[in-house]
């Protein structure tokens, strides 16, 4: 997907930066400063992939929560 934005900085955004901004998205809170830093990197794909990975992590997380809850029942 071609992607145009003015201030395209060359260096690839650090992976953990991407991860924590996607986590912030899941949480629903993000500062404008980080928001601009995120979109200044000009590369779209890392965020989408990280979003999918963290969505999977969320699913596994809730599954573990379910197993934890089930352990209380007499199963």
């Amino acid at each position: 997907m071609s992607f145009r934005s003015l201030e395209v900085s060359s260096e690839k955004p650090a992976l953990w930066k991407v991860a924590c901004s996607v986590l912030a998205a899941f949480f629903g809170v993000q500062s404008h400063r980080n928001y601009e830093k995120d979109f200044s990197s000009g590369r779209f794909w890392p965020y989408i992939l990280m979003g999918l990975i963290l969505a999977l992590a969320f699913v596994v997380g809730v599954y573990l929560l379910v197993q934890f809850a089930l352990s209380f029942s007499h199963r």
């Binding site: 997907m1 071609s2 007499h74 199963r75």
Partner: protein
Amino acid sequence: MNAPRNHKRTVTTLILGCVLMFGFGFALVPLYDVFCRVTGLNGKVELVPAHPEKLGQVDKTRQVKLQLVAVNNETMPWRFKPENSIVELSPGEMYQTAYIARNLTSGFMIAQAVPSVSPSEAAPYLNKINCFCFERQPLLAQEEKAMPLVLSVDPELPKHIHTITLSYTLFDITPESEQVAAIGGGSLR
């Protein structure tokens, strides 16, 4: 107006995405079957004979109540009943029984039995060695037949399950030629 932007890359990527999701919609069908086998979701049971070595040794310490239930689907006028409906089993023990089916109509019919287990967590622990639901059951007019069922309960059945209900629903799958098309008159239900 400046030259129209070249959207080919964007549009092809998105259309590819659509085709993939359309395929994903259809892929959900086998995915669902695999998921049901593994978790016993919806009480689904193996439709292929359990291979022998899965039958562990008999666990005499526990008794499990097995209830056999027969259900006719709407289009199925046969008389369909288990030989005996409630039996106490110990896990691992081989149990042989049969379902009696009698074609009460005046025509030749073929039936398909669909098994279902409740509670659904027990489904993966029901090993069926031979079951009349593995293949289609034809019956001539007024013919009666005892359809065999051989099964055993897996000893690893979770401790909290005491009763397993195995139900068979009988469906009419007589080919089109002998049966009035089901669609036409279905309107005023």
